[in-house]
Every structure is written in C-alpha cells, then in structure tokens.
C-alpha cells in the first residue's frame, strides 16, 4: 500500500490505460505538453495529449467523431460549468448515436470534467451539473469521492464502450488522499460503496458530499450511527445498495453540491419512494446548494453550500 492523491490516482489510471491501448488519448485545453507548432503532429503521436484552441463544441464534437471511428478519447472540459457551450455534442451526439444508428456505432468516449465549489471562484466556476447528464439517456455518469475509486472508475470508464461523463471534484483534487494498492484495479460502473457502516441513518453522499458525510459521521460518532453510502456512479445507479441501507436505518439524507431543486437527490428520493415505500420512518431530506448562482464572497459561498456541520444539524433534526 502507498498513499495517492485523488489527482495522482486519476493520472495513473490514464497513463496505464494509454499504455494498454494506443487508441486512448487526451484532448482538451491546457493539457500540455505540446508547446510548439512545427513538430506538433509528431509530438502528438508521442504524447497522446492534444492541446486545443478554446473551442469546446468543436473538440467535443471531434471527439465524438473520433470515438465513432475507432479511437477512445478522454476529452477534458476544464470546468464543469463550461459544458453549457457544448451540451449538444454530448447529449445529442455522443449519447444518442448508438440508438439512432440502430446499435451499429459505439461511442467509447470519456468526458472528464472538474466540478464543484469552495474555491471562491464565483458564478461561472463552481458548478456541479451531473443531473443534466443523468437526465440524458445514453450517458453513464461517474463521480468518485476518493483516490481508490477515482482510479478504478477511470479505468472502467475508459474501457466502457459508451460515453461516460467522469466528474472529478476540484476540492478533492487537493484534499483527498488515501491508501491504495500497487498496480491496477477496476471499480465497476454501477456499484455503490458503503464508505462507513451504521445503523441509525443512511447518508448518500455524492462526490465531495461523501467526504463531508464522513466528517459528519465522525463528528456524531458515539451519538448517532451514520451509514455513509457513496453511489460512485449515478448512471447506472446502484439503488439496491441504497435500499438495503435504508431498510436497515429507516432514514435517508442525500448530500450533493448541486442545487437541491432538480438535483440527483430528488432522483434518489424518487427511487427510494417508488421502490422502497414503507422503509422510511421519517421524511427523507436532500441537502444541496441553495437554489442560486454561486456568489463569490466567502461567507456567502459557505452559506450556500452544504457543509459537514449542516449535515450534522440535519441528522439531529431528522432523528430528533
């Protein structure tokens, strides 16, 4: 075992998969190290890192075309908020071509995008837009919360034959470290992980939400036994693991950074209500960002985002 940071884990996955399959390459803005034009193509063939102009809808569309014709691009959208300029190639092209072509054409594409708030970057650099993708059939959606999952899920995403949206959290880049084995491992798409077992309440934490839920669970240790479930992938969603946990605890809290309204918390509540009716002893609750654009000012940003102290408070209220 050794310690890896979240980004080291993702880097390692990408490097290993590039070694394994020459169809895998990265494309996006500022991903270096291509620095000078004359030797550009040659460098690219060596480096497999293709630094683009600022043209997201162009290079995402190109990635789809490349994926349709035998390559396996890892396409980087520098901040999740920027997908507003390139939703079309993601949801109308990548996601739909398999069905629209009658199953002939696969689009093995990973779109990798850092999301999340907490860095005081304001309204255009703090978004978490997973629920747009969850609502776009044909896409898989991955949101790891620690280095082990980050690596294993990235490898599965790259090997998947369909388009996968891989959302990494910008705070976890810096804060998340963990013990990891040497060598390679895969984490399957569609399998949740119980990050901490407990008996009193189920907290489903998405991405940094899982980290914050673990902090809250720790803060409540000895008083409340909190089970923290990390879905890891939102499509496919491992609803069985969530239902099993709720069956045990009778209480459900979902935590994510995206706005509550129309977020994946609502979708998880729907699944539990439809498929696990009667398991809940009290109303479920979703903690998400307040329904607003993200303000810049640090106290406002902190107030808008769910913090681990908010989770503690919510748990106390729900059980109290």
């Amino acid at each position: 075992m050794r310690e890896l940071t979240y980004t080291q884990a993702i880097s390692e996955a990408i490097r290993e998969e590039m070694d394994r399959d020459e169809a895998v390459f990265q494309i996006g803005e500022d991903i270096g190290p291509v620095r000078s034009r004359p030797s550009l193509w040659k460098q690219f063939m060596k480096n497999r890192a293709w630094q683009t102009p600022i043209s997201e809808s162009g290079f995402v569309g190109m990635s789809v075309g490349a994926a349709m014709t035998g390559l396996r691009p890892i396409t980087v959208i520098m901040y999740c908020d920027f997908v507003g300029v390139c939703m079309d190639p993601i949801v109308n092209q990548a996601a739909k071509i398999h069905l629209m072509s009658g199953g002939q054409i696969k689009v093995p594409l990973v779109i990798r995008t850092p999301a999340g708030a907490g860095t005081r970057e304001g309204g255009h650099h703090s978004g978490s837009l997973e629920s747009w993708f969850v609502h776009s059939p044909g896409l898989k959606v991955v949101m790891p919360s620690d280095p082990y999952d980050a690596k294993g899920l990235m490898k599965s995403a790259i090997r998947d034959d369909g388009p996968v949206i891989y959302i990494q959290h910008r705070i976890l880049h810096r804060l998340s470290k963990g013990q990891c084995p040497e060598g390679e491992w895969l984490v399957p798409l569609g399998k949740a992980d119980v990050k901490r077992p407990g008996t009193d309440i189920t907290v489903v934490g998405v991405s940094a939400g899982a980290m914050k839920a673990l902090e809250a669970a720790e803060a409540l240790a000895g008083q409340v036994s909190v089970e923290v479930v990390d879905p890891r992938t939102l499509v496919p969603l491992d609803v069985e693991t969530i239902l099993a946990s709720v069956k045990k605890t009778g209480h459900l809290l979902v935590v994510h950074e995206a706005p509550r309204r129309g977020g994946v918390g609502a979708e998880i509540v729907r699944r539990v209500a439809e498929e696990g009716f009667g398991l809940l002893k009290k109303p479920p609750k979703v903690l998400g960002c307040v329904n607003t654009a993200m303000p810049y000012s640090p106290p406002l940003e902190d107030a808008c985002l769910p913090q681990s102290s908010d989770i503690v408070k919510a748990i106390r209220q729900m059980l109290g």
Partner: protein, 368 residues
C-alpha cells in the same frame, strides 16, 4: 503505433458493390463511370420522388401565427416525420462521393438521403428506414435524418444543424491518428455555416491539417430564410481564408465540375496537406420539409433554376458527347424506377421493430 492502429478494423468498408465510391480512382472519369454518375443522380431523384407519394401531407400553417410551429409539415402516411428532400442538388452528393474511397467517411445533415445513396447506400434499407422497419439502415431507430452505415463509412445525417461538421473533423483526426489515409467529408448547408461549430471545426482542421473536405451546399435558403438576409457576405467559400484554408466556389449543378473540385480536395486531404472548403452553388427544387409537399420558398425563382436541373444538364452533355442516346437514358431511368419499386416492396413487407429489440445496453437502466 500508427500502423498498428491503422490496420485495425475501424469502419474499413468491405468491397462496397454498387457504391458511387467505387468510381473514385478514375480521374478524369471513364465513359462507364460517367454513366454511373448519372445512375446515382437518378437513384436519388426517383427515390425521393417516391417519398413524396408516400407522405400524407397535412398543412397547419396559419398566416397570422406568431407562435406555432415554424415548419409546416405533418404526415399520417406510411412515411412520417420531417422528410427533407434533396431533389435539385444531386450533382453535389454524387460528384463528391465519386471522389471518395469506400472506406472514407461522410457526415451529413437533415437533408441526407442524397449523401447516403451517393456513398453507396442501397435503396431497400433506405426505404425501410424511412418506413421505420427493422430492416432499415438504423433498424428503424433513426429515420430520415439519421441514416447510418458503419460499413459504408456513413456517420449519419444529423438533426442538429452544424453538428455534423465537428463529427467529420473528428473522423479525419482519427484517420490521421491511425495513419489510415482515410478522408472525411462533411456535407452541410449555407445556413449551417453560421453556426459556431463551422468556425471551430474548420479552424481546428486547418490548424492540425486534418484530412477533411468541407462541402457547403449553398441552396440559397435555410428553411424559410433566404441567404440574402442571413449571410453577411454572399459567398461562404470566402470564409475559408479566415483559417488559412483554400475555399472554392463551384457550380453545384454540374456534376463533373463538382467531381473535379472534390477529387482535388480529396487528394490534397489524403496527401496530408489539410482541409478544403468547397461551396457548391445549388438549389432545392422542393419545399424545405414535408417530403416535397410543403410550400416552396420562391416559386418564381424556382422556375429559372429548374432550367439548370443537374440531371437534365448532365444527360444533355452525355448525349452531346455521344456517350449515351436518349433511348439509353430512358432505359437507365426505367431501371432505376424499378429499383425504387423493389425498395418500396422490400420495405413494406419488412416488420416493424419491437420495443424489446431496441439496441440499448442493459446497464443503462432503460426503465428505471
């Protein structure tokens, strides 16, 4: 690396019989090839004429409507949906695709029947797709705007104006990455040249010298919008210079002119010298959508363009050059009409797909 990748089976077409693509290597085209060009133009023409008959048109246009459907079509016929005809523009698809190899790639627009047929699509599965049958190219899941054929290198029509331009550019990127010497072509209208995707894709294609040919079919209208009020400058070809790319204006009613320009652009692309923008001046002879039954934008103007029917012009040339007689041409037309009959019969007797046959993977929670 590139060689190994190149040898993998990435949409490399098997020998595509009957494809216009098979004409590729003849430049200038041989007499036999010239007749094939004509045949392909007729295939497109008569295939689409038949669609008109199968489309049971209903108009909902309300002259005072400020708020409704912008398009005036609907059908309860055996062919439904938004069916955009290519009639009048045949010389472009055929001239361009005749310059391609079987394993080259094509992306197309909402108006894609002509490109598919010119790239070698058989009329039976085309017709079946339009009738929503499981024998269609896309198993009935695509429809008029989404005809795909992996083996023909047909990467689909597209319902999103301009989206096909980056797709073709990406296919060209892939060809270059793999060292496969394939070329990609994007077909799109002058309306699409106003989309951001046009700018972004042409620019990156030029920057990275990708093997792609951009074929803009300027038919003077984008749905109800005349080019004269939607293009700040009359020629789309001139936009190429913004990217340091060659741009050429071509008579889109002259199949040989199109073919010659396309052959040059394809050669340039295949040779590693980068992309070209071709602007083919052309005209659609029917309304925007509704399988030819909707109102035409400008019936007066249409009359003068009908005098430049690409099929009539080319037939005259073949007769003038002594390569075909009127009787030969009549026979060819009958052959094609019979092929269309067969296609209709094939499609009509094909089954509809069932819900359980939809090509979706189990792990995507279809019903969750």
């Amino acid at each position: 690396m590139s060689n190994q990748l190149g040898r993998r089976d990435f949409l490399r077409a098997a020998a595509v019989t009957g494809a216009a693509a098979s004409l590729a290597l003849a430049m200038p085209p041989s007499p036999k090839h010239l007749v094939e060009l004509l045949r392909f133009m007729r295939k497109i023409r008569h295939f689409e004429e038949r669609l008109t008959g199968l489309y049971q048109y209903e108009s909902f246009l309300d002259k005072d409507d400020l708020a409704g459907d912008m398009y005036d079509f609907a059908s309860k016929g055996i062919i439904a949906g938004a069916v955009h005809l290519y009639i009048g523009q045949e010389a472009v698809a055929v001239g361009v695709c005749a310059a391609l190899r079987g394993d080259d790639f094509v992306t197309s627009s909402h108006r894609g029947h002509g490109h598919a047929i010119a790239k070698g699509a058989a009329l039976g599965p085309m017709m079946a797709e339009l009738m929503g049958r499981k024998t269609g190219y896309s198993k009935g899941c695509g429809g008029s705007m989404h005809i795909f054929s992996k083996e023909l290198g047909l990467l689909g029509g597209n319902g999103i104006v301009g989206a096909q331009i980056p797709l073709a550019t990406g296919a060209a990127f892939s060809a270059k990455y793999r060292g496969s010497k394939q070329v990609a072509v994007a077909f799109f209208g002058e309306g699409a040249s106003n989309q951001g995707t046009f700018h972004e894709a042409l620019h990156m294609a030029a920057l990275w010298e990708l093997p792609v040919v951009f074929v803009c079919e300027n038919n003077l209208y984008a749905a109800s919008t005349p080019a004269v009020i939607s293009l700040a400058t009359p020629n789309v070809a001139e936009r190429a210079s913004a990217y340091g790319m060659p741009g050429k204006i071509i008579d889109g009613q002259d199949v040989l002119a199109v073919h010659a320009a396309a052959a040059e652009a394809v050669q340039r692309a295949r040779g590693g010298d980068g992309p070209t923008l071709l602007e083919c001046k052309t005209y659609r002879f029917t309304g925007h959508a509704g399988a030819g039954k909707g109102q035409h934008n400008n019936p007066e103007e249409l009359k003068t363009w009908l005098e430049r029917d690409p099929i009539a012009l080319f037939e005259k040339k073949l007769r003038d050059d002594g390569l075909m007689t009127a009787a030969d041409q009549d026979a060819l037309k009958r052959q094609v009409l019979a092929e269309v009959d067969e296609a209709v019969a094939f499609a009509k007797k094909s089954d509809f797909p069932t819900f359980d046959e939809m090509p979706v993977t189990a792990d995507t929670d279809l019903l969750a």
